[in-house]
């Protein structure tokens, strides 16, 4: 009896400092953020309470509206692109091909590089190299920088985000594919399942848990996209690529509307929680157990 109590106390002693740190650096700032969202705090000096003004402004501010539209558009398109390509890659890398280990390592490299570094490299490619290629093939859209066009810059961002995220997703899919037991395929063979049918009815249902993880990770990553924007466009041209996180940072820290962007952050937090919960509950219904 006494022994059990002792170990309990030790666990408590381990847990309490961590809990204290968590509360101190996560919960308290979160609560303070919520408090600031009811003020006109600039980040320094005095501030006044403004009630719900910040929240009302959020819904009438075209800059905020555009940033939500852009971010959601980016998240949806990039998630689809990333998952399709990485699933195809994973199927290829899981089959019996030569140099599989090398290829797997090679495809993982983008994930190791820092997002800022990747952003700057792609910025150079989009500004100087791609237009040259565009001129050579005589394509008018490609002969100017994608990043300078208000209607196309978001595609450039999608490309970079997808390029970097495909690495991690592919690895997750490969590990998923390896959990599919060989005898399932053998049984399928007997029933005449080949090619697309084999994938659709055998492989895919069995890797749905991995699909769920990838979807949730992708959507969350892309909704919070920041580094790529910072490196490539800084929200431009014409504020067409301002993601929500970038806007919160840019306008809240540099722009000095700390209170207003705190309100934006609170709303964004609720949106992300809602989306994640919805995603989890939808996908978990579809999971198959062997």
């Amino acid at each position: 009896m006494k022994k059990a109590n002792d170990s309990k106390r030790t666990y408590m002693l381990i847990t309490i400092p961590i809990l204290a740190l968590f509360v101190c650096f996560n919960t308290v700032p979160l609560i303070r953020g919520v408090i600031y969202s009811f003020t006109n705090f600039k980040g320094f000096g005095d501030y006044d309470w403004v009630g719900l003004r910040n929240y009302m402004d959020l819904f009438t501010d075209p800059r905020i509206g555009n940033s939500y539209l852009f971010t959601i558009k980016l998240a949806i398109v990039a998630t689809i692109v990333t998952n399709v390509i990485s699933l195809v890659l994973a199927l290829g890398l899981n089959s019996k091909i030569r140099g599989k280990t090398f290829l797997r390592a090679a495809y993982f490299v983008p994930n190791v590089l820092g997002a800022l570094v990747v952003g700057y490299i792609f910025q150079y490619i989009f500004t100087y190299i791609l237009p040259e290629i565009g001129k050579m093939v005589g394509n008018k859209t490609l002969s100017t920088s994608l990043l300078s066009s208000t209607s196309l810059a978001w595609i450039a961002i999608v490309v970079v985000c997808a390029w970097q995220n495909i690495a991690m997703n592919t690895i997750i899919y490969i590990s998923g594919l390896q959990t599919v037991p060989e005898d399932v395929y053998e049984a399928g063979d007997l029933d005449g399942a080949t090619g697309w049918k084999k994938f659709r009815y055998l492989t895919f249902p069995l890797i749905i848990p991995f699909f769920t993880i990838n979807m949730v990770l992708c959507v969350k990553n892309f909704l919070m996209v920041f580094d790529q924007i910072m490196a490539m466009t800084q929200g431009g041209p014409a504020q067409s690529t301002e993601s929500i996180s970038y806007l919160i940072y840019q306008n809240g820290m540099e722009g000095g509307s700390f209170g207003y962007q705190s309100a934006n952050a609170v709303v964004f937090f609720i949106v992300i929680v809602a989306i994640s919960v919805a995603q989890m509950s939808i996908s978990s219904k579809k999971e198959e157990q062997l």
Partner: protein
């Protein structure tokens, strides 16, 4: 067992306190006063390191630390949130200064005798930046910059081009340059802030210098005052590269340094960057001629660096002694050589040759502060201007500028109008 638990508990508490209470610095042991400067120009870090060493060698009673981090404005604000104030801050004369004065962060230094050595027009510029007139002087102007047009002197001499003094001459010059197959201007409009350089340079000549204050007082609108500036700014685009929004500030500096264009409308602060690419380049600058009446043109010049003592500084005399040291003629000359800047101190200083074309304006004191120093940073006026230059729609832009101004400035506008009601509109 108990003992060990007690030890681990004590350890945990110690770790927590170490994390929660970040070192409260020890002060004034041994009678030496610590003075810390946080200044926002990382490009001048080498100069400030040297000054710091020289100061510490010659002073036993004061120990000076100057930090010049990247993105100092954000660092400054984060420290202000924590109420951890440096003794002296080095900032630009822009809206941030207005906010800091308004927030009561800065100390009144009007008793400081060094102020009398400063060129009064720069002291006035700081005065007019205050949101509502505030008694006292809150900053010591150190260096100014000027924005206009940089040009490739060799190229101009080779082709016999003359410096334009009116708007029509400028357009004619651009046509001449173009007809010789040379690009007149380079732009780096992907970095939104560079859109402000030609904008400011045109606006000082075309709009009244107190436009922003008048709008705040409800007496005029930007749609009225900025129409010509907007149109002329747009006109300049015809003489730039095909896709000016593809290039950033660095790209534009590099291209201009490599002789890809004859001119580059940007501030004098770009010269060190350009010279890094091409150290032998012969650059000069001229005032952006927005008007067709040459006498109405004025040089776009503002306080680029000023020092302000914070209210929280414990030994203000020591802080002022540091500022006096920085203001010694040798140090100022070294700074303006290093940064291609204009001194705010009155006296005989040798200006960099890159400022030759502007010297007559500087000597005559014909200078007007940047309009964007009054724009609230949360409004992102630079991005608005970039949007406008892409769309080319003057009416929508001006309307948008007016609406956003009212929205982002409402607290200031309320303060100004309240002040005017209480004091009666001055003048």
């Amino acid at each position: 067992m108990r003992r060990e638990n007690a030890i681990s508990a004590a350890l945990a508490v110690a770790m927590l306190t170490a994390v929660i209470l970040p070192g409260c610095g020890s002060e004034g042991d041994s009678g030496v006063t610590e003075i810390e400067i946080l200044q926002y120009k990382p490009e001048a870090a080498a100069y400030f390191d040297r000054v710091e060493d020289e100061f510490n060698e010659s002073h036993d009673d004061i120990h000076l630390t100057i930090s010049s981090p990247n993105d100092a404005s954000t660092i400054m604000r984060t420290r202000f949130i924590r109420e951890d104030y440096p003794d002296i801050i080095g900032i630009g004369g822009d809206i941030n200064y207005s906010y800091y004065v308004d927030a009561g962060i800065l100390a009144d230094v009007s008793d400081y005798e060094g102020i009398s050595d400063i060129n009064p027009s720069y002291v006035d510029i700081l005065e007019s930046l205050e949101i509502v007139p505030t008694e006292g002087t809150y900053g010591v102007p150190y260096a100014a910059n000027a924005a206009g047009v940089l040009y490739n002197r060799e190229m101009f001499e080779e082709h016999g081009w003359e410096i334009p003094e009116t708007w029509d001459e400028l357009i004619q010059l651009c046509e001449d340059i173009k007809s010789e197959g040379i690009l007149p201007f380079y732009f780096g409009f992907r970095d939104t802030w560079t859109c402000l350089a030609p904008w400011n340079a045109l606006a000082v000549g075309l709009a009244p210098s107190d436009t922003c204050q008048n709008v705040n007082a409800g007496e005029t609108t930007f749609s009225k005052e900025y129409r010509e500036t907007a149109q002329k700014c747009l006109e300049l685009l015809d003489y730039g590269p095909d896709d000016p929004f593809a290039y950033g500030y660095n790209d534009a500096c590099t291209a201009f340094a490599n002789g890809e264009s004859a001119m580059y409308p940007i501030g004098s602060y770009a010269v060190p960057q350009i010279k890094q690419v091409n150290p032998d380049m012969n650059i000069d600058s001229f005032v952006m001629p927005g008007n067709n009446d040459a006498s109405e043109n004025t040089l776009n010049s503002g306080v680029d660096l000023m020092f302000a003592v914070t209210e929280a500084c414990e030994d203000k005399d020591a802080a002022l002694e540091v500022i006096s040291f920085l203001l010694e003629d040798d140090n100022i000359q070294a700074y303006i050589d290093d940064q291609n800047a204009i001194p705010c101190k009155a006296g005989e200083f040798e200006l960099a040759s890159e400022l030759d074309g502007m010297a007559s304006f500087i000597e005559a004191g014909n200078m007007t502060d940047y309009q964007d120093h009054y724009y609230p940073s949360e409004m992102a006026a630079d991005a608005l201007i970039q949007t406008f230059l892409i769309n080319g729609d003057v009416d929508t832009f001006l309307e948008d500028f007016d609406t956003r101004w009212q929205r982002y400035n409402r607290d200031i506008i309320r303060e100004v109008q309240q002040y005017n009601e209480e004091h009666g509109t001055a003048e």
